[in-house]
Symmetry: C2
Subunit: 343 residues, 2 copies
DNA sequence: GTGAAAGCGCTAACAC
DNA sequence: GTGTTAGCGCTTTCAC
């Protein structure tokens, strides 16, 4: 008899409707082995008529693998991550993969539980988008069961695709040095993943030391992921009061917040203070922001990461973790200028 | 004996390891019916030792339903959508649902194929985040098999959760009217979903007519989703040349781009031109942008949408589509001011 | 309280 | 070419 109403039609319903066996239907659906023209037509008609849609779950169960990537992202509210997330999804889709997202708000426990859930969903791969997490515990939980790629956040395990943080920081600092700045502060935004921050810091230090200048690292404090209120003005005022004429922020968001502070404090950028960021989010290019920054090639990062994952998922690549670094470039805008000669 | 190596352990492996039947293991995992304390411990130990992780696919297959929502979003590069996406994911996670995202770039075909794929994955519900698509065709393809909610984009089918577009546009326009502006242009950004745009336009028209002013609607042209190059300066110059002193943009991104244009053209905001946006993206609050705008309550929109979907998925709500409208408020910043008295 | 057995919707040999 | 069959890993009656 007919199938139960209210239930999605199955391959069996199609089979009986078309008067063939379910394997034949299966063959047709997968565009597989030679099926007689006439049979295929009958099946297709039945599919159409019943509004049949293959159940991916069942397929994945028997094939023992899905075509879904799990993407763990710190904060979609941060334009850099949002832009990266978009590119990752696009690249994945182009290769026939869907993307499951988890926004962890930078909470380590959330990272762990999200990953757990994704593994239970048997994702074909895991993408970490700039997640700072306890990598040891994470590694334990992921094991080597599923291909994993860290994007824009160097890790000591799993594949890594990241920008050349060290070189980027170096050219950014060098840019400030060449403008004649002596007292250049490195402003560390806690949102930036630790390992990435270390690399950027080391690039900064290198450039500073080469110029025989003293590195000064200041840590930005954040209570949440949002833009900060005026409460940090004091801290910034202090930084500026001791002769600092330039700041290199570990990311654009921090730099933009600094710009806000400076405006509030009546400090002119770039006349009194030069500011350089890192990332080159879209916002940085707005005329009113016009932030000099180090551009990360977002589409390329995403492409390489997904390519890697797809290759591993398909078994085309196996073995030891692969680490790819892509170049960055300095985008000079109007937040930096030559240091003002002392009066 | 022993399970095959290289394969994830199954409930059966756990069963034999613990010396019980698989149903017992199943009972333990689901924290279900009374299981003897001792048995539970043995099972748990085995789970731990084997690193067993339940296969959600198998569970979903037999239960005939997943706990994954499909989220269709136009462009994660647009901060408003990115912020909404984040909230939707958070709300879903809190209720035990995962989120599968598709970024459609505003391409109708992409919407359709994304939805198709998500339905094949048997998502428990569908969220449309401001997707302008062919709703008729979409409806055909979704049918009434899966709960669907449109967020911030009114639709004639499915549940709808959206801001009060009409009222928002009205207060925005009213604000400009009260500031003494006579020639107020409505700038329509094509990114904004059609139905939402219509509502905003109608609010604008109403306020204009009440003030006995002539509505003027100008359509923004976009070649891609990105911020526009200087190529639109001409068009904007033209708008401004005919005595326009205020513009109400159908969204913040358009308003911010207008700000850019104005800067380039040497038009001062708000002295020469007042600008109001719609959405209140984070960027709008930056001191350097300081855009007067209509705030959409993003967290609330997301919460209501997910609540709705979860209720439908759980069968707690059935029947005709429900439409919820949430209030908006005008956030006055520094992009608007009283019209300058003619010299 | 625990186990046996029958599926969930599909794929993938393997016969015919 | 097409049909038969045996699972994929789990839940869920229903006996014991």
């Amino acid at each position: 008899m007919g199938r139960q109403i209210g239930r999605a039609p199955t391959i069996l319903d199609v089979a009986s409707e078309a008067g063939v066996s379910k394997s034949t239907v299966s063959n047709v659906i997968r565009g597989s082995t030679a099926v007689a023209e006439a049979t295929r037509d009958r099946v297709l008609r039945a599919v159409d008529q019943l509004g049949y849609r293959p159940n991916v779950l069942a397929r994945n169960l028997v094939q023992r693998q899905t075509s879904v990537f799990g993407v763990v992202v710190g904060d979609l509210g941060n334009p850099f991550y949002a832009e990266m997330a978009k590119h990752v999804e696009r690249e994945a889709a182009q290769r026939g993969f869907r993307a499951m997202f988890c926004n962890t708000q930078g909470d380590d426990d959330m990272v762990l539980s999200s990953v757990e859930s994704m593994l239970e969903h048997r994702v074909a791969g895991l993408v970490f988008l700039a997640t700072s997490g306890d990598h040891v515990q994470l590694r334990d939980s992921v094991g080597d069961r599923v291909p994993t790629v860290f994007v824009s956040c160097p890790s000591d395990w799993g594949d890594v695709v990241c920008a050349d943080d060290r070189a980027g920081a170096e050219i950014a600092t060098q840019h400030l040095v060449e403008l004649g700045h002596k007292r250049i502060v490195y402003l560390a935004d806690p949102i930036v993943e630790d390992a990435a921050d270390r690399n950027r810091q080391s690039g900064y230090r290198e450039a500073m030391e080469r110029a025989r200048l003293t590195p000064v690292v200041v840590h930005w404090e954040r209570t949440s992921g949002d833009l900060l209120p005026a409460s940090i003005d004091g801290k910034v005022a202090q930084i500026l009061s001791d002769g600092t004429t330039a700041v290199f922020s570990s990311n654009d968001l921090g730099a933009i917040e600094l710009l806000e502070c400076a405006d509030r404090l009546g400090v002119h950028v770039p006349e009194d203070l030069s500011v350089v960021g890192f990332d080159d989010v879209v916002m940085a290019g707005l005329a009113r922001i016009s932030l000099t920054t180090v551009r990360q090639p977002k589409p390329e990062l995403a492409r390489l990461a997904v390519e890697m994952l797809a290759a591993r998922a398909g078994g085309d690549v196996t073995g030891r973790p692969i680490r790819r670094t892509v170049g960055v470039e300095l985008v000079v805008r109007r937040s930096t200028s030559a240091v003002r000669t002392a009066v």
